[in-house]
């Protein structure tokens, strides 16, 4: 009776005679291992997209069948029930009901349930079975169930549910033969069984309990390691210390371990650029390729190791279950500015890049909290600001020890800029939550999954996806700006020769904005940089380098620093730092904000607000520092 045999029985009340399903939806509660199963079945053949008009991610993939055919799988957002309350659940309801535009009604459903907590998970089976679609009940986490001494009779469960049941471990890839057979089309429409009123949650839970009992379900022993680890990670004293150590450790590693990797990429880019310059015959095209493309795109690709490292850390923290604990620990602090613990995760990722951070806000159910988090995320000091900060600080601030041998003036200045961005974010959050995004007290309801080992497969897929997004950006936006800038700096041709930079189109553009930025201490050269960096912050470094190079300076970073010192006052330098701390100079972020908020209203508001803040902040900085230094 209490067999736990992996090749489970098929029970087909009405033997399938219909054709193979074209589209299969994967439904399940959060943390049931739905996405692990999806990754297992589709591998690299998956893509992420948004449903039109809503802000919920849509992952589809192709699963290969043994006969060579393929099935489209839709990984639906995790949901506890089918009553549409959150945005995620509305998507689940609409996709399953066939009312989601652009998505065909699924031909079948894979219902993924966590076998280690069958009673509660089965409650979701009632509304799903009531849909009447061919359904395979996938009991996931078979390995954990067995390891912790839980058992159940899958044949009896199949009888109770009137549907085929497969006991699998998606992490280990065990028991997937039944899933394959189901996808191949040898599946059955569930038999009509007596279901509770599906809107009645307690009734569904009671029914689920009865079904579990009749299937001889013995719940596994509590996850001992989760209890033990939580004893440390949620300990009143050790908990916050571990949390701080984790955050500091992530940053420290990002700046130390990533360094040699970044140097390696830089050497590769510089070397290949030099080689290209040497082997190609001298021509404007060679200059465009070497200076524009290699210089522009190369200065950005250098950040790939750092960004991937951050995503690796966030992936490990998320998949292991620690991030949920971090949300619990930070909830009180976040509540002070009107946000909640769930905002912490996106804000941490925003230190790498605001784009994935804004996508990560999807886990926040409350729309106003989510909007507030989206709007403040770009204030976090992202990786793209680093080259700008590093260049200006190195040019203007001599290195002297401040706090012993470890923290010098330059590191202190950099930390100060991180703090400045953070304070701007906190202040803005307060402002938003007390004005346009005021909302009633948001209930903070967060399920803590048991701790689990992250798998190489899921981390690898995640990093691959991120690298693809980043390189696409470098290959499109940044490439475009680099080429456009190079052209603008070399046109109009006067007598067949490129003009002096000040007389070029770019120079004219810089001069046009000069009156507006002169009070900030910026000249037309910085003006060109500000215009080009609207596409992406780091572009200004390449721009200033290019202007300097065209003016005949040495093409080393020391030469560029020298030129900056000549063209900027100390007040202007501080103003430039402040400007970059506050301004929204990132086309990708604006695009993702538009996509996630479903319109132009919020990106326009955000851009205007941040630009105003940047202008006023830089103005104040230039005036104050100018007085202090006496220039």
């Amino acid at each position: 009776m209490s067999a736990c045999h992996p090749p489970p029985m098929e029970r087909a009340p009405r033997r399938a005679t219909r054709t193979r399903p074209a589209t299969v939806a994967i439904v399940g509660a959060p943390n049931s291992g739905k996405s692990t199963l999806f990754n297992r079945l589709t591998g690299l053949r998956q893509k992420v997209a948004n449903y039109p008009g809503v802000t919920v991610e849509h992952r589809t993939g192709m699963a290969s069948l043994r006969d060579g055919r393929a099935v489209t799988l839709i990984d639906l957002p995790g949901s506890y029930g089918l009553a549409p309350r959150s945005e995620d659940e509305r998507v689940v309801e609409r996709v399953l009901g066939g009312t989601m535009p652009g998505v065909p009604r699924p031909d079948a459903v894979l219902l993924v349930l966590d076998a280690t907590n069958l009673g509660r998970n089965l409650a979701l089976a009632a509304p799903v079975l009531a849909l009447g679609l061919p359904t395979l009940v996938v009991l996931n986490m078979a390995d954990e169930l067995e390891a912790r001494g839980g058992t159940l009779d899958t044949v009896a469960l199949a009888g109770q549910l009137g549907a085929t049941v497969a006991l699998v471990s998606a992490t280990r890839g065990e028991g997937l033969e039944t899933v394959q057979r189901f996808l191949e089309g040898t599946f059955a429409v569930p038999a009509r069984i007596e279901l509770p009123v599906i809107q009645n949650v307690p009734a569904c839970r009671l029914w689920a309990g009865r079904v579990a009992d009749r299937s001889a379900y013995r719940a596994p022993a509590p996850a001992i390691w989760t209890r033990r680890l939580d004893g440390v990670f949620l300990h009143p004293l050790a908990g916050p210390l571990v949390f701080l150590a984790v955050v500091v450790g992530v940053f420290q590693t990002m700046f130390t371990v990533a360094r040699p990797m970044m140097d390696g990429v830089e050497a590769l880019v510089l070397g290949s650029g030099r080689w290209l310059g040497a082997v190609m015959p001298a021509s404007p095209f060679r200059d465009l390729l070497v200076e524009g493309v290699w210089g522009g795109v190369g200065s950005v690709v250098v950040f790939l190791p750092q960004i991937l490292l951050l995503f690796l850390f966030i992936g490990i923290l998320e998949d292991s279950g620690y991030l949920a604990r971090a949300a619990v620990i930070t909830d009180r602090t976040m509540a002070r500015v009107g946000l909640q613990g769930k905002s912490f995760i996106p804000l941490l990722s925003a230190y790498a890049c605001a784009v994935p951070a804004i996508m990560a806000t999807r886990t926040i159910e409350n729309r106003r909290d989510r909007l507030a988090t989206i709007l403040i995320a770009p204030f976090m000091t992202c990786a793209a600001r680093l080259p700008v900060y590093t260049l200006i600080i190195a040019a203007f601030l001599p290195e002297r020890p401040v706090l012993g041998p470890f923290v010098g003036t330059r590191a202190a200045a950099l930390l100060g800029l991180y703090a400045l961005g953070f304070l701007a974010a906190v202040g803005t959050a307060r402002l938003l939550k007390s004005t346009i995004l005021r909302s009633g007290r948001t209930p903070f309801i967060l399920e803590l999954p048991p701790y689990r080992w992250p798998t190489f497969r899921s981390l690898g897929l995640r990093l691959l996806d991120r690298a693809k997004v980043f390189l696409t950006r470098a290959g499109t936006i940044i490439l475009g700006v680099a080429v456009a800038l190079w052209l603008l700096a070399h046109l109009p041709l006067s007598g067949g020769r490129a003009p002096a930079i000040a007389d070029s189109v770019a120079g004219t553009l810089g001069r046009a904005v000069e009156p507006a930025i002169a009070p900030l201490g910026f000249d037309w050269r910085v003006g060109i940089g500000l215009v080009t960096s609207l596409a992406a912050r780091e572009v200004i470094v390449g721009t200033l380098g290019a202007i300097h190079g065209v003016e005949g300076g040495a093409s080393s970073s020391a030469g560029l620093q020298e030129a900056l010192r000549k063209n900027l006052t100390p007040g202007g330098a501080v103003a430039l730092l402040v400007f970059f701390a506050f301004a929204m100079q990132c086309v990708s972020t604006l695009a993702v904000v538009k996509r996630e908020t479903g319109g132009w209203k919020y990106p326009v508001l955000q851009f205007t607000y941040m630009l105003t803040l940047a202008y006023l902040g830089a103005l104040a900085a230039n005036q104050i520092v100018g007085r202090l230094v006496g220039t």
């Binding site: 280690t116 719940a219 949620l234 949300a327 909830d331 209930p443 309801i445």
Partner: protein, 89 residues
């Protein structure tokens, strides 16, 4: 389990989930919350009649983790204040 036995020595004492300290257990009686929130909590296992055990809390005692129906859920005090529980001494 819990220590604050009142003088009247009632067989059953009714209080809110927020009053439970780490390790205390109680039977859930009612959720006096907006229906959306109450339903979400019920989906997570907070169904009247079920047994809830208080677990670890964040620094400052809020939010706290509760064990219910085989899972663990973190809730703020402002939510748990509106959840009535019964403890049997």
């Amino acid at each position: 389990m819990h220590k604050n036995a009142p003088d009247s020595r009632p067989r059953v004492s009714t209080r809110s989930l927020a009053d439970l300290g780490e390790g205390d257990s109680a039977w859930l009686v009612a959720l006096d919350l907006e229906s959306d929130v109450a339903l979400r909590l019920m989906e997570l296992g907070f169904i009247p009649g079920s047994r809830v055990t208080a677990g670890h809390a964040a620094p400052g005692g809020d939010p706290r983790v509760f064990r219910v129906d085989g899972g663990e859920v973190a809730l703020r005090r402002e939510t748990t204040r509106h959840i009535t529980v019964e403890t049997v001494p």
